[in-house]
């Protein structure tokens, strides 16, 4: 079943990418708004503001797509395997944040991200 595993692997990569894209859209919209939240009421107002930006809905579309592919993955692979492969999601987020959102990345953050990915692989595989 070598082909099956490769297929599942590709599907998981696709969910991770879709998820990363949706987070990128959300974060870029939030960055563009520059709103200070200091109460629950403000938080809800903020969300209403976000909803009015059409880019957020593109993000939602990608999360829906990601969920659909993930359901397909779960019907084909074991949960342990799926979760351990899905930890590459953190790498995608890291690269996307550095390249697209221009977040400042130091060695500490890279090391931390890698430690988390390794840790998730260990927790889910064992």
């Amino acid at each position: 079943m070598k082909g099956g595993i490769v297929f599942v692997f590709i599907l998981i990569t696709l969910t991770s990418i879709c998820d990363t894209i949706s987070q990128l859209f959300l974060k870029s919209v939030i960055n563009s708004l520059d709103f200070h939240i200091n109460s629950v009421k403000k938080a809800f107002q903020f969300v209403l503001m976000i909803m009015k930006v059409y880019r957020v809905w593109i993000g939602f579309l990608f999360s829906t797509l990601s969920l659909c592919i993930w359901l397909l993955v779960l019907s084909k692979a074991e949960l342990n395997f799926a979760f351990s492969v899905d930890s590459m999601h953190y790498i995608f987020i890291a690269f996307a944040s550095a390249l697209i959102l221009k977040e400042k990345f130091g060695t500490t953050r890279w090391l931390g991200t890698l430690a988390i990915v390794a840790g998730i692989a260990l927790v889910t595989v064992s």
């Binding site: 959300l26 939240i37 903020f46 976000i50 944040s97 390794a118 927790v123 889910t124």
Partner: protein, 138 residues
């Protein structure tokens, strides 16, 4: 422009609540379809029937409320810290779930899993610390 990017205890609390709420969402969704597990979704009519059962279950609505709440808290978090900090720190659930299963269900945690948990914790601490210094003008 002044922009805080520190992971404070308040933000950490928010991140943990997002994790917890996501678990609640999953449990509610699962619970809303659990009575119809053997249901074969093989045609459009059957799919509609399956959806009807799910929609009639109160758990689905609890789940959806929890999704909205998660989104509000997550947006609040993202308005305060970097995406590349928020997402890794949210991996806390991989630590909580094994520890919770150990305390509540007396599950055994083997050496590999312990090393994974320690590795995640180190990673979370490193990523949180890396957001300590202020961002440059941008």
């Amino acid at each position: 422009m002044f922009k805080k990017s520190r992971v404070t205890f308040k933000i950490l609390f928010f991140l943990v609540s997002v994790d917890a709420l996501e678990t609640v969402t999953q449990l509610c969704f699962k619970k809303s379809v659990i009575g119809h597990m053997g249901f074969q979704v093989d045609s459009l009519t059957n799919a509609a029937l399956f959806l009807k059962y799910a929609v009639l279950s109160p758990y689905l609505w609890f789940g959806l409320t929890s999704v909205i709440l998660t989104f509000v808290i997550w947006s609040t978090i993202l308005s305060k810290i970097d995406l590349s900090v928020a997402v890794p720190v949210c991996s806390f659930s991989y630590v909580f779930i094994p520890l919770a299963s150990m305390f509540f269900f007396k599950e055994q945690i083997n050496f590999l899993r312990w090393s994974g948990i320690v590795s995640i914790l180190i990673g979370v601490i490193l990523v949180s610390l890396s957001s300590g210094h202020k961002e440059g003008a941008s």
